[in-house]
Symmetry: C3
Subunit: 345 residues, 3 copies
């Protein structure tokens, strides 16, 4: 691909200063950029990099006024503008072959939409339905009576158990497992455990995306459910009977225990753990690595272990860091008091 | 399925009050229940839900006396009673086809029990033995000379390396890996690492269940071992040479470092991490997210980071939360002391 | 296998005292060893075990002088010596068949080195290159235009997306995913997220080893990269645009957020979490379970949450544990001060 600075500025609908005929042949971050690359500065953290970049042109914010070697193109939102131009330099999209690969196994009774792509070594058990335009990549397994909506994209090695419902435009990355049994046992007095049948299922609504090697357990009865538009990062664990609202964000390695409810628009940072049967309110934010032991009110920001209001957690941390000062104050008080006592006697 | 209230009460051997002819057509939690559903109340946390549920009948404890709309059936253990009735409403169990699927690859020398089911796209290397009644689902891989006992059930995409021993009635969920190399290297003075051959194996005893995407490393020599009846949740990591006793519970995302020993009946909460070479005593309990840095005595309950006796951890946390009070006490002491000093001079 | 004590001592080039003709038929740890086994004592933690072991011979350090039943062979480094002898007792190495298995799917345009082994049910998309001597085990997926170097070994069920570059002698364990999309979205005012195309790739340099069920995301643009000799344990998560140096160690379940840079020779303990856009300096050490919220200077050892210099974290922890003492000191001061005040009035 090859665009001139003028073409890029025109595409973005913004002016520029410098050599409009300069040819841009690639895109890169400020540090990796070579001559001919377009880069961008969206985060003040990287401001210094602009003085050292080899990029030929850089997208910057309107307020940017640091002079530097590359041609600067000022835009409202450098991140979004870069994403827009990056599409021109993207690798050719891979279009999976339409149809059922001869090396896939599908039952006779399965219902297939139009323009479906079923990759090699996929196994689709009896009663599976796949909606129009959905792609199941190589080596995926879809259990009995599982229904998948339209225009979904499953990467290779996805594993979905029986009776699961998946909405439309759902993206699932490699190695993710949906519908494994919940971790439920009865315990006798000695501590020996007996498996409780996990008779429920999982429901995943429209526009959900799940990362790689995620695990989502089926419900003991009823449904573990993931609301519309929710985004789940790699290696997240969601236990049985969890109910996740719409447009929730679960960062990597989060673990949600059984029967937790998470409200719409909540955001959970990486490696957060959440004890069973809690309610995380709508729009709540949970700082990375927090251990949530009590329900969280809507729109609250909590952090730490046990998780508490973030402002309080920060204050408490500051207090802890000042214990040595407190200690030396007490020491000095002891000394002064001793002197007074000596005087008084 | 369709059961009347009388039939349900009879099945449970308990009396009831209300319309015995009422027809129950499904089961659900209190919140999700619709007319015609049976639900249950086992956890006081959900007591309020019973006043708002649409369920037609609810299983409650003997002591329950809150009047409400649904028919109440009083039982000793609502959870167990519900599980018993739920079986009537369970989806039909899926019975895998007996035999080796024509699209599975098995070596000529492998030993196959009776009523074994080997799914499509499974690969069983040379020397594999599979006991009577065991099911290996689609796309599983079983390495050279690995032996699997009777009546095991492996879900799709399980991956087991060579020379592993699996007992009877072991359940393994999708994507779990057993027998990957331990994380062992020699280090030279510069910090460059050289792989130490991992010559040992893994032994999994009877009645173990493992969740999805679990990883269990083989021993450097000897065996990583998992005792009889132990239950392992999703995304747990067990390093080389770990020895886990019988009837142990490892909740989701636990990580056990190399050569740790865990006694029988120990319970480790979600996301617990355990440093190498420690001993976790029989019946010990480790609170969720704890960081275990020292061995834990039998029957002890520890929590926090670094993990300490739970009662002590709770006390320490309370002390920390009261630092601001301590601080203001010191401030007031300073003031009062200053006044005394002024007076004394 | 069968070696005499004399043969073992000769192999190691060291003297021994005792019955040189004694026959060693196996190897084991001190606790598991049976008669006929060779064991070793490398860690003082296990010193007591040598008095109770059933091993016939034990490799010990030169300074060892505890008398005991097994024949002792004194060596410079018992661990290394044991590793050397263990090779004689190792299970026969498994040599994968050279060639493309008839049940593998490879595109017509793929480039295959010499002595390559492609296992059954592998899928290699168009444009894939595989170097001399590389082994791709059963059920692996290699995406379009991904290039793999020489003498790599991929265990079963590895999943690699398109346009990824893998160096020479790279080992990847079962179920690991490389090149899944980064977790990147734009957010509108309501909190609804739209996927940002992840147009970049992943580059893995020579001599890297990755454990089982690891996930490594592709870059938004440019490359997520893993430097030469770096070792990554099971269930580690590496987000988009992370740049990892050479000979780095990431223990199990570590999570690295987007755009983090990690210097050469850094070591991250198990379950460490690292916030986005930070720099971890060369040779830094991060204690297990730490939550890293700020960049870490080279050669620094940090721990805790939020991670701080380890010596400081340890000191702070000690201070916290002594709050009760501080509290009782303040109480006593209050009492003494009250007495003085009473006297003064």
């Amino acid at each position: 691909m090859n665009l001139t600075i003028s073409q890029i500025a025109e595409e973005l609908g913004v002016p520029f200063t410098g050599d409009g005929g300069l040819s841009i042949t690639g895109i890169a971050g400020l540090r990796d950029a070579q001559e001919g690359d377009l880069s961008f500065l969206a985060n003040a953290r990287y401001a210094l990099d602009i003085t050292e970049t080899k990029a030929s042109a850089v997208l910057v914010g309107k307020e940017h006024d640091q002079p530097c070697k590359p041609v600067l193109i000022k835009v409202e939102d450098p991140d979004a503008a870069f994403a827009q131009i990056a599409l021109y330099f993207a690798p050719l999209p891979i279009t999976p072959d339409v149809g059922v690969h001869p090396k896939a196994i599908v039952s006779e009774d399965f219902e297939l939409g139009n323009r479906v792509s079923i990759g090699p070594y996929c196994v689709l058990e009896s009663g599976v339905k796949v909606g129009d335009g959905t792609v199941l990549s190589a080596g995926s397994y879809i259990g009995h009576n599982t229904h998948i909506g339209k225009n979904c994209f499953f990467y290779p090695h996805v594993s979905i158990r029986e009776n699961v419902e998946i909405g439309h435009r759902v993206i699932i990355h490699n190695g993710t497992v949906i519908g494994s049994d919940g971790f439920g046992y009865t315990v006798d007095k000695k501590g020996v455990r007996t498996k409780i049948p996990q008779l429920g299922s999982v429901k995943v609504e429209d526009d959900v995306e799940m990362g790689a090697n995620v695990t989502i357990d089926r419900a003991r009865f009823g449904k573990t459910s993931i609301g519309c538009g929710t985004k789940i990062d790699n290696l997240v664990q969601i236990a049985h009977n969890v109910v996740i609202g719409e447009h929730v964000v679960l960062c990597a390695q989060v673990g949600i225990s059984g029967s937790v409810t998470i409200g719409d628009y909540a955001i959970l940072g990486g490696q957060v753990g959440c004890a069973g049967h809690l309610e995380i309110g709508e729009g709540a934010m949970i700082g990375a690595q927090s251990g949530v032991t009590k329900s969280v009110a809507p729109k609250t920001f909590v952090s730490g272990y046990p998780a508490m209001e973030h402002a309080k957690a920060t204050r408490m941390h500051a207090h802890q860091m000042r214990i040595p000062i407190l200690k030396s104050k007490v020491k000095s008080l002891e000394k002064r008091l001793q002197e007074l006592e000596d005087k008084a006697n």
